[in-house]
């Protein structure tokens, strides 16, 4: 029964036309596949890897490569591992030699999970034209069930007023350096500007912040700030880089307690706001 159930399930999930449902389903299927792979021999794993054209090679256990069963081309590794958060998946923490990353069977199964997840997600991109009403009913019930379980995500409102006390340490430092007119790197300026625009500071106020720079040119700054705010060109509103990226470029100067639990400066801001709110004395009459 398992084999025909997969195309039917795929069709139904595709018919929901909800990207969250699709992602959840793809992830669940991929996880199941990967847990099955963990118990498989080298041959089966090689077959699956070949299907995804991964440059993978089985290796014989060697004294200085203990426990490793496979070597994977580093670009294939990065493509699948870069989004896994655990430190042990960071390329910096892997054994990398001659362009190959060494892996255990369990580890290659985890990476194949990413390939499978993308493969299924792609399969779910199809537009399902029309399904018989009896099946559509089931699809709708599926949707309803999903929303009941997961709820619709909604962001807490960010207050319109800018709360400096809720800035993450990196942004606070950038803000101070900028206001005193000292040199800030390009990525630093980008991070600060996009952060401020995203927490609701007006473009005018952001531009004013840069006035103390010795090389300040209003026209140029206005153009750039408005571009980042999504008011020009491609109309994309830019968001600040992730914590990970800020670390790479030396903008992150070490973490505080909240930093340890988040991956994005904007999430820090929301969390800190919540903490501040909880600790704030209750206003009289409230």
């Amino acid at each position: 029964m398992e084999i025909p159930s997969f195309p039917i399930a795929t069709m139904m999930v595709a018919a929901t036309e909800d990207s969250r449902i699709k992602r959840t389903y793809a992830l669940a299927e991929a996880k199941r596949a990967s847990s099955l792979l963990k118990g498989e021999g080298k041959q089966t794993i090689m077959k699956i890897a070949n299907y995804f054209t991964l440059k993978l090679r089985p290796i014989q256990p060697q004294p200085n490569l203990s426990n490793y069963n496979f070597a994977l081309d580093f670009t294939d590794y990065i493509r699948n591992a870069a989004i896994i958060q655990d430190k042990k998946w960071k390329l910096t923490n892997r054994l990398l030699s001659k362009g190959e990353v060494f892996l255990t069977t369990v580890e290659i199964s985890r990476l194949l999970e990413e390939e499978i997840r993308r493969y299924i997600e792609q399969k779910l991109q199809v537009k399902v034209k029309s399904l018989p009403p009896s099946i559509m009913n089931r699809v709708n019930r599926l949707k309803q069930l999903f929303y009941e379980k997961r709820g619709k995500t909604s962001w807490e409102e960010i207050p319109s007023e800018v709360i400096i006390a809720a800035y993450p340490p990196c942004i606070r430092r950038l803000h101070e350096t900028t206001s005193s007119g000292r040199h800030v790197s390009h990525i630093g300026r980008f991070s600060l500007t996009t952060f401020l625009l995203n927490i609701g500071m007006t473009t005018e106020n952001v531009i004013d912040l840069f006035r103390s720079f010795a090389d300040f040119k209003e026209r140029m700054t206005r153009y750039q700030v408005e571009h980042l705010a999504g008011l020009r060109g491609s109309r994309t509103k830019y968001i600040p880089p992730t914590c990970d990226t800020l670390r790479t470029h030396g903008v992150c100067l070490g973490m505080d307690e909240i930093c340890r639990g988040i991956r994005h400066p904007l999430v820090y801001y929301r969390r800190k706001l919540r903490v501040l709110k909880m600790n704030a004395p209750v206003a009289p009459g409230a």
């Binding site: 670009t75 990065i78 910096t92 491609s234």
Partner: protein
């Protein structure tokens, strides 16, 4: 700001260069898929989104525009002349920039100078937080690069080549290196494997090379064992870095690292034993009084020494414009000069990059430290009229450290 007469003088020399050396300017591979950009000295603007089909067209443009800086995209595009979002990104070379600016060098940049914007007080080295005289925080900075700076940049480049070839398996044939014409080196990897990598993938490569997020524990450092000298990848680098560090570290340096007294004493007393220990399993478990935490701090130093200090932004930017080989650097009048992997150790950037080997010019120098261009050492100068080899004179003029003389700088 460079005065207009001086600017015209620079422009005229650059023009001669592009007329005489046109044939030495080689376009990058797949030039028709690249974006070209030029900085124009007189107009002070960047001309971007240009594209050329043949080397001749490009050379023609250089002679007509006489730009102070010439760039091309590391990226390949379907339509290089379109706006960024409509170019159609096809891939990009993997590029690295090593700039003395980013490296803590032994010379401590004492040759750099700063001037307070308010009271015009000057000083050398990195500017202070606040002006000692008027408390102002804004400074005009002038960066110079000395032989020590350039040598440090070269050492980092050699480390980078080692990591790329041994760990990433990049073939030496896929690597090209060039002196930027100012303070550092560019390294390009042209490989089928990496061309399609996005920004996130390139960031992982950068983090590996710089050692960002490295956990010694995940490389085998525990209370009872640690990496060996001949281990592969970062493991071996950690061991070799630790070896090197402990060989040279003074008790003072160990103190600065935050090691407790007992550990410092133990490490100093057992230097011989530590050296010998590398022949077997390393010193990790055998030196009493050195805790795992202390080893962690030592390894952190070792990682800093083994990592290559690259500019992290350049490599992760998949739309980057980068200087074209054999074109002039507007801040120095030197040319970007390619060198080979085999020759890099002996490469003398200040000699090979001289673009104006003949002639002299008389200029008025405001302020310049001692420097060398080609075989000639010049300076230091302070408000002085001097006749210099043309390359040295242009170097100071481009830096804004000198102007041409009223009687007309003579070029001979």
């Amino acid at each position: 700001m460079i005065k207009i007469e001086t600017q015209a003088f620079i422009q005229a020399r650059f023009c001669e260069y592009y007329e005489k050396n046109s044939m030495n300017i080689q376009p990058p591979a797949s030039m028709e898929k690249r974006e070209f950009g030029f900085f124009l000295l007189k107009e002070r603007i960047m001309l971007r989104h240009k594209s050329y089909k043949t080397a001749e067209e490009l050379r023609d443009s250089l002679q007509k525009l006489v730009p102070s800086n010439v760039y091309y995209s590391s990226a390949y595009y379907e339509l290089p002349e379109e706006k960024m979002e409509e170019k159609g990104w096809l891939g990009a070379d993997l590029i690295f920039d090593i700039d003395a600016d980013h490296i803590p060098t032994p010379c401590a940049k004492t040759h750099d100078t700063w001037t307070c914007r308010k009271c015009k007080t000057t000083g050398s080295g990195t500017p202070p937080e606040r002006c000692p005289k008027c408390n102002e925080q804004k400074f005009e900075e002038k960066a110079w690069s000395c032989e020590v700076c350039l040598e440090s940049a070269k050492e980092e480049t050699i480390k980078l080549i080692d990591i790329l070839t041994k760990d990433f398996g990049v073939s030496t044939k896929e690597i090209s290196i060039g002196f930027s014409g100012h303070r550092g080196y560019h390294l390009h990897v042209k490989s089928k494997e990496t061309v399609a990598l996005g920004s996130i993938g390139r960031k992982e490569i950068v983090d590996y090379i710089v050692g960002i997020g490295l956990e010694p524990k995940l490389h085998g450092l525990s209370g009872i064992a640690g990496p060996n000298l001949d281990d592969l990848g970062w493991k071996g680098r950690i061991a070799r870095g630790t070896y090197e560090y402990l060989l040279n570290a003074t008790p003072e340096e160990l103190r600065k690292l935050g090691l407790p007294k007992r550990a410092i004493q133990s490490l100093s007393e057992h230097k011989e034993r530590i050296l010998k220990s590398w022949k077997i399993k390393g010193p990790w478990a055998m030196i009493k009084g050195v805790s795992l935490e202390s080893w962690g701090k030592i390894v952190e130093e070792a990682v800093k020494k083994q990592a290559a200090q690259i500019d992290t932004v350049v490599t992760t930017d998949i739309h980057r414009l980068i200087r074209l080989g054999n074109t002039l650097h507007g801040k120095t009048g030197l040319k970007k000069t390619e060198t080979s992997l085999a020759a890099i150790e002996e490469f003398d950037p200040l000699k090979s990059a001289v673009a104006f080997p003949r002639g002299t010019a008389t200029i008025f120098v405001f302020e310049a430290p001692k420097f060398r261009i080609g075989d000639e050492s010049c300076g230091p100068y302070h408000n002085k009229k001097v006749e210099l080899p043309l390359a040295a004179a242009l170097f100071l003029l481009c830096k804004g450290a000198a102007r041409i003389t009223e009687d007309g700088s003579s070029v001979r």
